[in-house]
């Protein structure tokens, strides 16, 4: 992590965006988007989490190693989800 002091206006901007996204996701939840409802909600959540990580947690200003560490965590979570789903989504296949 570098010693760059992030200007406070960056923090306030991120804060405003986070508040907006919270309002947005709550508002959008009342509309029937069918299959896309959870997709939209999770996309907004991922976006919020990313800007918290990048700016509040200074990931944007951090070393490559820190990026690899953070990425590894997400990737490994992905392994858990993907291979578990490979079972659950295919259990009904081939059934008459």
């Amino acid at each position: 992590m570098s010693e760059t002091i992030v200007p406070t206006r960056v923090y306030y901007t991120v804060f405003a965006v986070l508040l907006f996204c919270t309002g947005l996701t709550t508002f959008v939840a009342f509309f029937d988007l069918g299959f896309f409802s959870p997709v939209v909600a999770l996309t907004i959540a991922v976006f919020k989490a990313s800007i918290v990580a990048l700016f509040f947690m200074h990931l944007r200003y951090s070393t490559r190693l820190t990026w690899v560490v953070a990425g590894a965590g997400i990737f490994w979570l992905g392994i858990l989800f993907a291979l578990s789903l490979s079972d659950y989504m295919t259990r009904a296949w081939g059934r008459i």
Binding site: G73, W76, L83, D87, Y88
Partner: protein
């Protein structure tokens, strides 16, 4: 062996720098913490071995006549829990990793010495919970805690045991975290990744698994505990829960866990093969990257424990293919070790005997793993003694032999004393013979259909079971022998000096036992690892 001038122990070293129980219980010296772990895990090895003894005694006769079926269930459960979580998982990393990681990279200590001490206390607390579970009547679910038996039906101390393992898991996480950060940030100048001894690559790969896998075990055991305590239904089919979900979450950790148990031993074998053939390990990069490959691929194969549990056959096929893939880096290591032996100056000291034993026995264990990865074969031999033989070849024939090899190799460095070489060679031979006599018959038993976790069996299986129990007795003797001659060496052993094996590596550049801060000044590394040819040239 050339005669050496009279060697003396250094005046002050990490063992006598301070006296008193407080200097040990409040130490932040990684070497002292390693010794604390050594004592604790040896104790739990004895506990786990006792349960194994009861199992093998019961299986001498076809009838279930030594203990009741309930008690037998508790015996194999507690054998598994203690041996895996309280012995094998910590073993090499907590003892030899703690002791030698800083020394091998030229550092004065690990990145977080206080967290290191905390990890030992966390281990002890977890171990105490497990001991309480054992003494308060035991646990009978199998070390795998399968639901809904563990959450609904079992009458044993599941909650206490789950909490104990949960806590002990955090010890692994803290150790792994410490090693990762240390290896990244505290290498001495000149110690690039490619100059590190292969033991460090293995420890690093193990630490990755510890950090990425153990938390999932923790949450799984927490769910089991909460479900049992509050009668929830997350894993209970009566409530619409899925017992197989427990297995997915459990094996997501527990498969990589077996790589936690074998990778450090592989790292030790690399060190031993290099030192006792006086040769750099053939294909250093391949071996180093294979360690990482095993760690990563190991996370993709957990479903092979669940082929007959009710997962979809398509998922099973994916896991089967991935399980074949994970064998490749292990095979690369075996080939490279063998190539190292070629035209090496081989000396068959006790550590080397364990290393050679490892290569043979691990190969058998690894190949039988491929049989199990094949769906068709697995349907036949799942939950039989074939599986038991497979994993004991890896965990005892592999991991434990590596651990014994590490003890014999680094004992002179850690204690300043040499042990009796003749007894050590005899013990290695006894262990090897006893081990094979114990576990090879179990492959046959499993193939013929003897189920695991049964305390009674059809009479036609008795002959092989008797052989196995006889082997276990020999094996037990083989394990007792080092306990005796190693302890005796503390008083009567010859002084070892800094480098009795004339090995390369920064740890051999310090006195035996080393001083508290390892190095007076941070060393500057210029030579590649295992530079035996250069060592020869320097001595000439």
């Amino acid at each position: 062996m050339e005669t050496t001038e009279a060697l003396a122990l250094p005046k002050t070293h990490y063992l006598n720098a301070e006296y008193g129980i407080r200097s040990w219980l409040l130490t932040t010296d990684h070497k002292r913490i390693a010794i604390l772990y050594l004592i604790s895990i040896t104790l739990f090895f004895a506990v786990g071995a006792t349960f194994a003894g009861v199992i093998r005694l019961e299986l001498l006769t076809p009838a279930g006549d030594l203990v009741s079926d309930d008690t037998y269930n508790k015996m194999f459960t507690m054998h598994g829990i203690v041996m895996i979580f309280l012995f094998l998982i910590p073993s090499i990393p907590a003892v030899f990793g703690n002791f030698f990681v800083p020394m091998m990279i030229g550092a004065r200590d690990l990145a977080f010495p206080k967290i290191n001490l905390l990890s030992w206390y966390v281990y002890v607390v977890g171990a105490i919970f497990t001991l309480v579970a054992i003494t308060a009547g035991g646990v009978d679910t199998g070390w795998t805690f399968y639901t809904p038996f563990s959450t609904q039906a079992s009458n044993s101390n599941v909650l206490t045991a789950a909490i104990g393992v949960f806590i002990a898991g955090f010890s692994s996480i803290l150790t792994g975290l410490n090693f990762i950060v240390t290896i990244h940030r505290m290498r001495a100048p000149g110690m690039t990744w490619m100059k590190m001894p292969l033991f460090l690559w293995s420890i690093y790969a193990t630490a990755l698994i510890n950090v990425l896998g153990t938390p999932v075990l923790a949450i799984t055991l927490l769910l089991v505990a909460v479900e049992r305590a509050f009668h929830l239904g997350i894993f209970n089919p009566a409530y619409g829960g899925d017992p197989v979900l427990f297995q997915h979450l459990f094996w997501f950790y527990s498969h990589p866990a077996v790589y936690i148990m074998i990778l450090p031993s592989m790292g030790v074998v690399s060190e031993l093969i290099a030192a006792f053939t006086r040769h750099s390990v053939f294909g250093y990069k391949a071996v180093a990257f294979s360690s990482l490959a095993i760690a990563v691929l190991g996370f993709l194969v957990w479903g092979h424990h669940m082929f007959v549990a009710g997962i979809s056959v398509y998922s099973a096929m994916i896991f089967s293919v991935l399980s074949f893939l994970v064998a490749i880096p292990s095979a690369i290591k075996v080939f490279n070790w063998t190539a190292t032996l070629y035209k090496g100056s081989v000396s068959l000291d006790a550590p080397m005997l364990y290393a050679l034993g490892f290569i043979g026995l691990f190969t058998v264990g690894g190949l039988t793993g491929l049989f199990l990865a094949s769906l068709g074969v697995d349907v036949q031999v799942h939950d039989t003694y074939f599986v038991i033989a497979h994993f004991h070849y890896i965990m005892v024939g592999g991991a434990l032999m590596g651990y014994l090899g590490a003890i014999h190799y680094w004992w002179p460095k850690m204690t300043g004393r040499l042990y009796n070489e003749i007894w050590a060679k005899l013990a290695a031979l006894t262990v090897f013979l006893g081990f094979n006599l114990t576990f090879f018959p179990q492959f046959i038993l499993g193939y013929l259909g003897m189920p695991r976790r049964y305390h009674a069996y059809p009479p036609e299986f008795q002959a092989l079971n008797v052989l196995s129990t006889a082997g276990a007795t020999v094996l037990g003797i083989g394990y007792l022998m080092p306990l005796i001659y190693l302890l005796l060496s503390l008083k009567y052993g010859r002084v070892a000096g800094p480098n009795p094996w004339k090995a390369t590596g920064l740890e051999w550049q310090t006195p035996s036992p080393p001083p508290t801060f390892n190095f007076d000044r941070t060393p500057i590394v210029t030579k590649p690892p295992y530079s035996y040819e250069q060592q020869e040239a320097d001595l000439a």
